[in-house]
Symmetry: C2
Amino acid sequence: MEGVDFLADERRKAEFDVDAMKVVWAGSRHAFNLSDRISKLVASDPVFSKDGRTMMPRKELFKNTLRKATYAWKRIIELRLTEEEAARLRFYIDEPAFSDLHWGMFVPAIKGSGTEEQQQKWLPLAYKMQIIGCYAQTELGHGSNVQGLETTATFDPQTDEFIIHSPTLTSSKWWPGGLGKIATHAIVYARLITEGQDHGVHGFIVQLRSLEDHRPLPDITVGDIGMKFGNGAYNTMDNGVLRFDHVRIPRDQMLMRVSQVTREGKYVQSDIPRQILYGTMVFVRQSIVADASSALSRAVCIATRYSAVRRQFGSQNGGQEVQVLDYKTQQSRLFPLLASGYAFRFVGEWLKWLYTDVTQKLQSGDFSTLPEVHACTAGLKSLTTSATADGIEECRKLCGGHGYLCSSGLPELFAVYVPACTYEGDNTVLLLQVARVLVKTVSQLGSGKPPVGTIAYMGRIGHLMNCRSKVQQANDWQNPSAVLEAFEARAARMAVSCAKNINKFAIKEEGFAELSADLLEAAVAHCQLIVVSKFIEKLQQDITGRGVRQQLEALCAIYSLHLLHKHQGDFLSTNYITPKQASLANDQLRSLYTQIRPNAIALVDAFNYTDHFLGSVLGRYDGNVYPKLYEEAWKDPLNDTVVPDGFHEYIRPLLKQQLLTARL
Amino acid sequence: MEGVDFLADERRKAEFDVDAMKVVWAGSRHAFNLSDRISKLVASDPVFSKDGRTMMPRKELFKNTLRKATYAWKRIIELRLTEEEAARLRFYIDEPAFSDLHWGMFVPAIKGSGTEEQQQKWLPLAYKMQIIGCYAQTELGHGSNVQGLETTATFDPQTDEFIIHSPTLTSSKWWPGGLGKIATHAIVYARLITEGQDHGVHGFIVQLRSLEDHRPLPDITVGDIGMKFGNGAYNTMDNGVLRFDHVRIPRDQMLMRVSQVTREGKYVQSDIPRQILYGTMVFVRQSIVADASSALSRAVCIATRYSAVRRQFGSQNGGQEVQVLDYKTQQSRLFPLLASGYAFRFVGEWLKWLYTDVTQKLQSGDFSTLPEVHACTAGLKSLTTSATADGIEECRKLCGGHGYLCSSGLPELFAVYVPACTYEGDNTVLLLQVARVLVKTVSQLGSGKPPVGTIAYMGRIGHLMNCRSKVQQANDWQNPSAVLEAFEARAARMAVSCAKNINKFAIKEEGFAELSADLLEAAVAHCQLIVVSKFIEKLQQDITGRGVRQQLEALCAIYSLHLLHKHQGDFLSTNYITPKQASLANDQLRSLYTQIRPNAIALVDAFNYTDHFLGSVLGRYDGNVYPKLYEEAWKDPLNDTVVPDGFHEYIRPLLKQQLLTARL
């Protein structure tokens, strides 16, 4: 049966040009070619095989990752890959490794916060991987609240050194990837103390291990923090714990781009504004949003393909059962996730543009858009990662029992993905930051300071507070401006309502705290509006290829209307729509599901994922699921022997016992 | 610090008698004593330690489970435990094992479907564990649709035998626990074919392995299906695959209580009605609901205790940061889950009563309540397991980053729990069964056949379609009858609306299929009503102990009002409440959170879980979290050596290389 495409019928049904859609998904012809080439390079190299990953004990798993990560580096050198290509290569290897932190956090931190001299000293070593770095910020007792970190860096003017110290157990560095077993160096965040004064948290370059024998340097305790969620998953990474007992480093290992300590121990600000550091945060968050669309689309691809293969119930006259994908219950859970995958992709693309835009503004000293950009990236990080984590698990459930097998790929995808909801800003904390900006915006309305960027719609508050939906029949909801106004009115009304309720409190901060659950909902409404509006903007761009625009229009409508249905309480309680209009939206949603159904397989093919990257028997391109599931089963170590270890010791005596005394 | 209770302050705050609440939670003084005694027995026995479970490779893990399960059996005999005590013992050992299926499925199947003679022959062997059984129903290609199973049992009158056969790959038995490596026997479900006719699916007792050397009998292929979701978790179980190549068994190994094959090969029905088998299904589902309340309350206990230990932000004047449990965002996510734990407990208790009630009715030949009982158990299984799976993951997120560590216990709890959404009826399929009964009930209204049991409220359809909420201020929502009417009106209106929409279709089945996503929502509304109404009924019972009733009233209100808020679109769109009333419900919810806050720790203490059962560093009774997290970390195998395996092979050459050619 090898070589047969069991999904060929499904592929023939598609009403659009899949190759053109692949380019739209990738973002450009260049991006498509790059991804296509690198993903195939990885998929065809046996060293990058994922076989057995979910069965390996920790040490073996970790060693295997070292093998892959160092081989990847070798290939990067041999093939003379560009930085962009190297990043794609690591992405398609699809296995968290110490090198992610080296390239993704250590190098950027030095670039962003190091002086020219520091960059000249450290970057060449890092670029050649002659040192390996990690990023040691969070502590055992301190995560979200960076200002609460306890590690200290006390300047000693006698020796021109900083003394790095962990004063309490809770100040132990905890979680940094690559720290546990591999990193030779770390960017350590610690409270800078000089001349008896605490100047808050700053970054320091600290060597952790000998470059000769890899043993921890004196007065440093370092190790791995133990197993994490899932099989394989993040257990390939040595997230670590680190304690310092008065470790001395030279003064020039404080990252001194924006603030410095002089030879005498004076704390001084450089002429580079602190805000310049926000650029890095925008960059990191845009890449998290891009990762969300990748992870969600991967899960959706697996669930969609398997839903076309799997049949249950409804056979008539002894014929085949019905494809699960034909059930409206399946469609109503799966297609909104498919639409979300596309929606997150496009909002991620826009964030990439925003990053370059804000970088230019920062460089020219224009910080005016920072609060809005900060809120927008925080909110989109929160929205997309939460929806993706839930969406992957939903896709697993949509595969029925078999989604529970590691060979489905979904358990590992879920387990490896969920930390995105916590790292780089806890999702709840981030939404509250969005809410704060919204409430502030409302309070400043009419002050002559018009809201900008993604909050600009608040400038039309008069209209948005009073308008009513004009929808009269189901397909009026297909009109982007009808949808956009609905999401704007909802977001604006929720924000205004929160702001009003806060104003009833004598102390505003108390009101904010008391009403924070409502504020989260207002923040979500605002963020959903951003995603909807960016999808609609995408549709206004030049889109080529037979039928491609029609599919994207349907997906955009599905994304918007499923949210409208899910949150219809918001739209109804703010009186923007009537129950009748809510019901029409639901009718339209149903007919969109029918419209998208024949294109479902082609729409996930457009992600252009190799079977290697998917790592799922259920999601195989050729749909040849059952023989391969069967084959996979026999690879489990338990099947090495017919009679299992422990049988003679435990089970045989049980079977052979003669019971006399049991009450049972 | 050993022996210090870091949560003592929290415990002192409690406004009710925790010991009295423990009895309410357990269901009775007897049940409390039993659970308390057995859970401590397990916790104090080093053989039942869970240490290292999430780090063990598959074979070692499995062998370890064999050790525990057989030791448990030894203790059951030695201590002469009753069946009830033995079941609690297995529950508190908290590790899925082959014996679960033996006692939970194999024995009950013989009891329920075997004739008197079959029971006399097989049960003594099973009771003494001289044979070990499993339950082989689902197949590689067939799960939910039992009638689609492909395995055949063809009667051969020549030899008075059945020939059990797997005609296709997709007919391979797939998933049965205990099958992979341990079971000597199985109840195999297969299509009964005799005299050339297919009589549908029946159960057969089939020996799988030699009782001498444990090898599979001739023409039987059997093995483990491989790794499943999570560390430890269900990988302690040998879920299996099984194929038959024309395996012969004697005729008397068909389970013949309700239908038989005669010596001549005639298929005949006995005088015992088929409906008698439904009793078992009700029993299994009530125990699943009870398990849901256990699993959810466990996760809630961990998250609540750690939320009292963990502090983030808000320190003033250098003092301690604020306990996470004091944040309204945390409360609004956590307290509804705490309330759900209690709600599911009480509805489970009621289901236990329903089981005895329906058993008596069945025995006296009264099948009239069966459709309603069937729908109600199906719906509650679906509702509680879905909410529990989501709730555990939410609790994990509520613990921040540390919830991602296996030592938090939450990853394993989640991974081991989620299959409950799929087994014993896929949750979506079950809800559609509920919807079917609802639609039928609506269509029969006014026919003179009054709806019974949990659907009885439909009998007041005239009132429920037209009434409006009379709530005028927030604490009017504290009134149980106001809440009950709201949930009844919502459920009734959604069911009627679905029924009306279906009637617009020429072919009703097509309407049902097309509108199935709406039908799911109507079914959920109905099931939530059941849970709310059983919680309210519980409050009408005699409840003793200082402050206990007040706490339960608050929890009941939280459970109801958080649902009302979450689904406010349903209540608003059916015009039962106004936006103002929805907002009042939300205000009331907020004040309930404040009211429950000082009692939160005591309310989870009332579950009476040992630290052994919780299996979580974050959920420790004494709150001594950080030193223990630190201690746990060092147990990881990666920390066996300072320099990790693979360093010399992979990392050292990398660090020592001299790069000349990189483009980076």
